[in-house]
């Protein structure tokens, strides 16, 4: 606590045993109902993934990355695999590229569905929590049909993917998407036009785009300020198939405060993200080429990599997700793997974003950034 705050201030620990603080804690200094200082604490979820990665082979590394964020497992493992593929100089089969992209987008949708249910729970409406989670089950069923696992499926592997699409998977995915599409307008109406939701989220957690970028925010949090910063377009990846689909970067800019973003804008932005992902999946489902899903020769290259450095990046659900990989010659394990989780920045930026808001709004500000403790603790 800064000494100049005065005697009225009270320090309150928000977490780590708080109901809505699962795996994190923030020390709030409160004067009356207003927060004047926020000191987020990390480390309750720390699993030393970067050290662990130094002892795992390149084929095993993706599994560690998946466990950083189980909700977007298909996306989370990709930067590591991308880095490995860059160092080895692998070309992966066309079919694998398209299937990878489809599953990454499906993973993004179900992660966003989970997030918006969680935010609704924090705002006290459990109906809006469980309705999207029912839809989410259909995506999880698809993953289960495809890989046998509902969350961490270890789908991508250096050199391709491990599980092939069957007709049944395709039907299940189409069913999940159909259900989502029929329900989404209803949910949008119920959320974005709900007066109580507007009362809680409008002008809450407001920040400028410039500040947000200086804090390191990325993904939907920055896109909701009106900046189309999206690695899917900006950072063309030869091993993904985003260029096969025709889509625009979803950007929402609220005319009430251009260049700024509040919790409501982030909600709208994430709905647009879902719609974009749905359109990408639907286009790519028609363009799946025939062929092998993995190139065994390329995959064998991942056993021993040459010396090199690579920077694997992907636009995750929550923002820019990267892995920086350095290998030594004929290495079986990485020399150094640095994971950059997108939520590291969003969690840090609470320190600047929260002071001035009320105690009750803290969970809304936090929840609207789509945080996941695994990404900052790693």
């Amino acid at each position: 606590m800064s000494p100049d705050i005065g005697d009225e201030a009270v320090e309150i620990w928000f977490g780590p045993q708080h109901v809505s603080a699962h795996g994190w804690a923030a020390k709030l200094t409160v004067v009356g109902d207003y927060i004047v200082e926020c000191d987020p604490h990390a480390g309750y979820f720390h699993r030393s993934a970067e050290k662990v990665l130094e002892f795992r082979t390149f084929k095993q590394g993706g599994l560690v990355l998946e466990r950083m964020c189980m909700l977007e497992a298909f996306l989370a493992e990709y930067p590591y695999i991308s880095a490995v593929e860059q160092i080895a100089g692998m070309e992966i089969p066309e079919r694998a590229k398209v299937l990878r992209t489809i599953m990454m987008e499906a993973s993004r949708i179900h992660s966003l569905q989970f997030w918006w249910g969680q935010l609704s729970a924090e705002l006290g409406l459990f109906a809006m929590t469980l309705w999207p989670w029912v839809d989410r089950e259909f995506f999880l069923d698809t993953f289960e049909e495809l890989t046998g696992s509902r969350h961490a499926a270890s789908f991508s592997t250096p050199g391709g993917i491990r599980y092939d699409f069957t007709d049944k998977v395709r039907q299940k995915l189409l069913r999940a998407i159909g259900r989502l599409e029929s329900n989404l307008p209803k949910f949008k109406d119920m959320l974005l036009r709900s007066p109580t939701f507007k009362m809680r989220t409008k002008d809450v957690g407001l920040f400028n785009a410039e500040d947000g970028i200086k804090w390191g925010l990325s993904g939907p949090n920055i896109k909701s300020c009106g900046i189309p910063m999206d690695l899917r377009k900006d950072w063309p990846d030869p091993n993904l198939a985003y260029d096969l689909a025709d889509w625009e970067v979803p950007v929402y800019e609220n005319p009430e405060h251009p260049g700024q973003s509040d919790a409501y804008d982030r909600m709208v932005q994430r709905f647009m993200e879902i719609e974009t992902s749905v359109s990408i999946i639907k286009q790519l489902l028609d363009q799946i080429p025939d062929g092998p899903i993995v190139d065994p020769k390329a995959r064998a290259k991942a056993n021993r990599l040459p010396a090199g450095e690579a920077y694997g990046r992907v636009e995750g659900t929550r923002g820019i997700t990267t892995v920086w990989l350095k290998t030594q010659d004929k290495a079986q394990t990485p020399w150094r793997a640095k994971i950059r989780g997108p939520c590291f920045a969003s969690y840090y930026s609470l320190k600047h974003m929260v002071p001035g808001s009320t105690f009750a709004d803290f969970v809304v500000v936090f929840g609207s950034l789509d945080p996941y403790p695994g990404w900052w603790d790693r």
């Binding site: 480390g43 189309p228 590291f344």
Partner: protein, 175 residues
């Protein structure tokens, strides 16, 4: 916002700071090597000249024998440019000026690098440990000399159990 091409940016950086070496990996990526004393100037240059520079991360790499490399990564969306600034450091606990006042988002990255590699960031506002539990503070676990095998069991205070000797294979039963 002004669009700036990677070569323009690299050119103006070279003109301002002739001692910097720049290597272009691909059309979108620059590798900038600087000395520790110049890091603040270069980062300030990036903050001023690279539009919407997003501080992606700062991290250390242990090159063994008290050699460390520090890598700063910035991404500019309007210029579609990725800048990696690399700094070579040497010493038991090397130190470097902080840049967390220029890019607040790097404050926690520096904090993490400090606790993981023991690199001092001069002028950093808050170098408390971030992720590590109390037992590991000051041990710098991401250094290569931090062993994770059984040799460190004694530190943990747990009872040391010796690994059970493997049973010898009986002849003829291996099939």
């Amino acid at each position: 916002m002004s669009d700036i091409s990677p070569s323009d940016f690299a050119g103006s950086l070279i003109r301002s700071y002739p001692t910097v070496t720049i290597e272009s990996k691909s059309g979108q990526s620059l590798m900038i090597s600087v000395t520790p004393s110049m890091i603040r100037d270069v980062v300030q240059f990036i903050a001023d000249n690279l539009p919407m520079a997003l501080p992606e991360s700062v991290f250390g790499v242990d090159l063994e024998d008290d050699n460390y490399e520090l890598i700063y990564i910035f991404w500019s969306h309007p210029a579609r440019l990725l800048c990696q600034i690399r700094v070579q450091l040497k010493g038991e606990t090397p130190s470097i000026p902080t840049v967390s006042d220029i890019f607040p988002g790097l404050e926690w990255h520096e904090r993490e690098t400090h606790e993981m590699f023991g690199i001092e960031f001069e002028g950093h506002p808050d170098l408390r440990p971030l992720l590590l539990p109390d037992e590991l503070v000051g041990k710098y676990p991401l250094r290569k000399r931090f062993k994770t095998d059984r040799s460190r069991l004694a530190e943990s205070g747990l009872p040391i159990v010796k690994p059970r000797p493997r049973p010898k294979k009986e002849e003829g039963s291996g099939k």
